[in-house]
Structures are given as structure tokens and as C-alpha cells.
Symmetry: C2
Subunit: 332 residues, 2 copies
């Protein structure tokens, strides 16, 4: 039924080794022989069985993308970037949702090893050094997103959270804000931490700066809502809010709207991430946009590069972010 390499070999009158060589363009093959083999492959509609290749050659042309939750609006764009590059290079992507739980991530890694994936992209933050070392031992190339650059191998891709946060606060200042609060995300996440540091860096230089202007949030819409609640009780006169991510910014917007506080009239709001959501809120949300899709592309490209060359030296790439000014921070 399905043609195998031996069928091709027989039809072409050569050995399986030769056919394999032709397939993989590896080793010496006379060009005439090559033509014969190619013709036989066409004729039989030969499609190499990936399972067999995987078993024999330890290559599956499959990579995995482990992320917290594809439902989180940050990740679809990223996943799309990864998938597009993967596809262009003949790779297929396995999607894994970890809910940011270390256990799930680890169990996934085990499964993926058994399936011989060629590499893994982590958009999560719960793996400890030990896990990564285990990856290296198993010789599975990997790329990580938003990690602190503190390991001896692996590849980390991150954006300039610190700089982006500074830009956000400066932008709010320029828009006329006299007292700017920051709703920060979980401090276990480097991203959240760096953004908070960026805020402080700029805020500290102003007389209105005070620690109670920094409100904890959890990177969710509800977190943004609660934060506004907490913030306004202490600082009813705040006129600028920089949210640690867009989801919280949306929450902030919702709660301000609910309270009848005009945006950007009374309070200006700026988010961080640049997810699509920011275009559909009312008012539209200014934000520090990460090149989400490109991050996905880059991650996939780096991973594939590593798979091919198994150059496992440590490498970190930092991408820039860009301020997108929309209604929520319009000057009076």
C-alpha cells in the first residue's frame, strides 16, 4: 500500500542505503543514480515515514511550545509566530499548557522526551536550574522567554522591560500626569520585577513618589480592578496609572469607567505588552508593545538553529519595545 524505502530501492534498482542517501543528500551518489531514485520516488509517491526516521535517526522534526495558557491573550500571537517559522522549516509544533505549574511543566518535559521532540520553547517560569541541567544532559535544545539571564547554556529571549517601563512613566509625565501609580505583577516573574524597577527609576525622581503608589496585582483583569480599588482609597488624586501588563490595564480601565472617572480626562492609563485587546477597549489603551509575533518567530528560529548546529553555548537576546499612544493617555 504505502511505499517504503525498499520499494523505491527495488524499483530504482539500487540499495536502500542509496535511496536514503538521496533522500538526505548525504554521502556520495552519482547524479544518474540520483535521477533514477528520484523518478522511482515520484512514481511510487514515496513519503518517508517520520516515525521510522525518528526511531533510527533520533530526529522527529517536531518542537514543543510550553506556555502557561494559550487562553491568555499574550500567547496566541506568540504561538502563531512559532508555528509559522516551524512550518517554514518543516517542523511541527506541540502545544502544551502548563498553567504556570512546575509539576505540569516537568511532566510535559518527560512526555516530550519520550516523544523525541527535537527542541522545546519555554514561555514559562517555573523551571529551576536543576530542570534545565536535566534538559542539557538529555541534549534537548531549548529556548526560554522572559528569563533572567543566569545560566550557563540555553538561549533566552527577552524584551527591555526596564526601559519600556521607564518610557511608559515618562510618557505619562509628558502627557501631563502629576502623580503616577504603578500596578505591578507577581514579583517572582522577572518581567514584572523589571517593569517595577523601571517605574521606580523614573518615579523616584519626582516629589510625588511614595511607595504606596505601587500596588500589587496579579497580571489579570480582576487584579487591575482590585488595584484601582486599593489605589483610590489611598490616593484619590492619582492622575496616571501605569499597569504592569495590558490585562491589568484593562481592569483598571473598567473600574475607572465604572466609577465614572473619565479617561484620559481625570486619569491616564498605560499598559504593557501590546496585546490586541488594547485596541478594542474604550478608550483605546496606550501601551508599551512587545513585538509578540516576532518574539515567537525569533524563538523558533533560535531553537531550530540550535537543533541543527547543537551550538549549546549560552546566548541571550533582548528585543526593544515600542510605545503605542492611543486615547487613554491623550493630553487634555
Amino acid at each position: 500500500m504505502k511505499a517504503t524505502i525498499r520499494d523505491v530501492a527495488k524499483l530504482a534498482g539500487v540499495s536502500v542505503a542509496t535511496v536514503s542517501r538521496v533522500m538526505n543528500k548525504k554521502g556520495y551518489v552519482n547524479s544518474e543514480t540520483e535521477q533514477k531514485v528520484m523518478k522511482a520516488m515520484k512514481q511510487l509517491q514515496f513519503e518517508p515515514n517520520q516515525m521510522a526516521r525518528g526511531l533510527a535517526g533520533k530526529r522527529t522534526k517536531t518542537i514543543a511550545l510550553i506556555l502557561p495558557d494559550i487562553s491568555n491573550p499574550f500567547f496566541p500571537g506568540l504561538a502563531r509566530g512559532v508555528e509559522d517559522i516551524a512550518q517554514n522549516n518543516g517542523y511541527t509544533v506541540i502545544l502544551c499548557n502548563s498553567d504556570d505549574m512546575g509539576v505540569k511543566e516537568r511532566s510535559y518535559i518527560e512526555v516530550l522526551k519520550k516523544k523525541y521532540v527535537d527542541g522545546i520553547i519555554f514561555a514559562t517560569n517555573n523551571l529551576v536550574r536543576e530542570d534545565l541541567e536535566r534538559m542539557e544532559e538529555a541534549r534537548i535544545p531549548f529556548v526560554m522567554l522572559d528569563r533572567a539571564p543566569n545560566m550557563e547554556s540555553g538561549c533566552v529571549i527577552k524584551v527591555d522591560n526596564f526601559g519600556g517601563a521607564k518610557t511608559a512613566v515618562e510618557h505619562l509625565l509628558e502627557a501631563g500626569c502629576k502623580k503616577i501609580a504603578h500596578v505591578y505583577g507577581p514579583q517572582e516573574l522577572v518581567t514584572a520585577k523589571e517593569r517595577l524597577e523601571g517605574y521606580e527609576e523614573v518615579a523616584r525622581q519626582h516629589p510625588w513618589y511614595t511607595p504606596t503608589l505601587m500596588i500589587p496585582g496579579d497580571f489579570t483583569i480582576d487584579g487591575g480592578i482590585r488595584a484601582v480599588d486599593a489605589l483610590l482609597s489611598k490616593h484619590p488624586d492619582v492622575d496616571g496609572i501605569f499597569a504592569g501588563n495590558d490585562l491589568m490595564a484593562v481592569g483598571v480601565l473598567k473600574e475607572l469607567n465604572r466609577r465614572g472617572i473619565s479617561i484620559p480626562g481625570q486619569v491616564k492609563v498605560c499598559g504593557f505588552d501590546g496585546v490586541n485587546l488594547t485596541e478594542i477597549t474604550q478608550p483605546e489603551l496606550s501601551t508599551i508593545a512587545q513585538p509578540i509575533y516576532q518574539i515567537g518567530e525569533l524563538a523558533a528560529n533560535k531553537l531550530i538553529e540550535r537543533i541543527n548546529q547543537s551550538s549549546s553555548h549560552y546566548e541571550t537576546v533582548e528585543l526593544g519595545v515600542s510605545l503605542i499612544v492611543r486615547e487613554s493617555t491623550q493630553k487634555a
Copy 2:
């Protein structure tokens, strides 16, 4: 290094066949022998190589999900439902974006065949009968979403678009609308078609009904914006809009907002799908919600069922939708 089935067999003092039987709980194995084997597996930390299993047994414990674009807010929830069920059953999910292009879908199917995926879920609409027949020949179980039930095998999962659309229009009527328009989606899609039919079914019975109240859209935000444009030029007195999906509803909302038309005061808007976006618009959007996550779960469950029993008789499941009333259709 990595323990194989033969290592286990040797250590347990049995044959590989017996080990295999223990692994798969298949055939007769004495319970004492089983214990010995289990112990040996533990001791060697034996992990069966999925590649080998796939090659020998034609089972890869992998399914694929082909959808137009994971960036479209409808799909992340669906993908999550699929992935959760897959994971619970020991399956892994390959994600494929087809951009709704038949060519890409077909090329993906070929790739997936070579990779021996155990089954495929299609959330796309470009495969013709011929493609599906090819799937059947290849004995790859599949489940489709939002398809017209017109084939002899395969499994289709859909929602009650017709009923949902009727509900939407009735809801707008009840909210006080005197002239309701419908922005419909691409008529190649059954979903769009059925929703349009639902609208007509109810609208036809009212004196204000006229074909020009039905505006074509393309299921995107921009499509919604353009539709409002077209609509208002012909019917400036429209006071209710039922959009064929949430994305267009968002566009409608945006454009109405831009024009300073109050919602729900002057015009009420209702969407369809129930994506998360509808909760963050201003005003929040009423919508006919599909049980998106559950559809994903159901699709995965059905597929796995089919994989196990290879019961390939045709089957179609229709799920209900539910009206979610929010601000955009509030009574005066």
C-alpha cells in the same frame, strides 16, 4: 544509558514479549511475573520509547488540531479545551494554523499522516468531500467543527446557530428595538449562513423587515466597522444590530462609539460567539455564547473515542448556545 524493553526483560528474567504485555496490559501474564517486571521497570526507570511504539504499533498518542488562526480570539479557548482532554488521556496536541486556506490544510494533512497522528480535529471549512474520503481511506479518525452534516462518516460538532440567532433577534426586540439589522459573515461558512437564516426567520415577521437591513461582513472587527458605515447610510434609524460574530460586534461598537451614537441608548448591539473580548468592551457586549471550551473538550473526547473504537459511523452533535445579557442591549 536509556533503558530499553530488553534491559527490563533481562533484569526481570523474562522475554520482551512478556514485558510488552505488562506494559500494555494485554494478553495473559501471571501476577507474580507482572510484579517482577514492574519492579525491573521501576529499577531501570524504564520509559517506553514512543517512536518505537509508533513505528511498530501505529499509535503515536498524538492528535492534531487544525484551525484557521490561533490568534483569532475564538480559538484559544477551544484549543485549551482540546489540549486539556488530550493531556488527561495521555495525548499530545499538534497545533496547525491553516489561515483558512485549503492548500495549507491539505499539506498539513500529508505531514500529519507521515507523522502518524492518531486523529485530527478540524476547526476549518475548506476541505471538500474528496479530502475527507482520503482521510477515511487512510483510516485517520477525525472530528470537524461547524460543518454542515452532509457526509457518510466522520463526526461533526456544531452549535445551534439558527436558534441562537433567533434568540438574539428576539432579545433585541424585547429590549425595545424597532428596527433590527444583521451584519452577516461569509456565506461559505455554514455558521454564518445559519445565523443569517435565524435572523431572517424572526425578522421576516415584522413590518420593518427589508433585505437592505442585512449587511455583509467578513467576521473581522474592520468588517463590523465598515458594515455600520454601509448600514447607517441606508438606515439611519436602525436601533438594533445583531452581528454575526463577536469580532464584528466589536467593530460595530467601535464605530458607533466613534460616531457618538450611544449604546444601548440609541442602538443596541448583540454579538455571537461569547469570546472573552465581549467582557472588556465599553459598554460590555451582549452575546450569544457558544460553550467554546466545552466544544474543544467534546471534540477531543469524541476523537479519542473514535481512535479507540474506530467506530467510524457518522455522527453529529449539536450543542446549545446561551444568551448573555450585558450592557449593550440594556432596556432604556
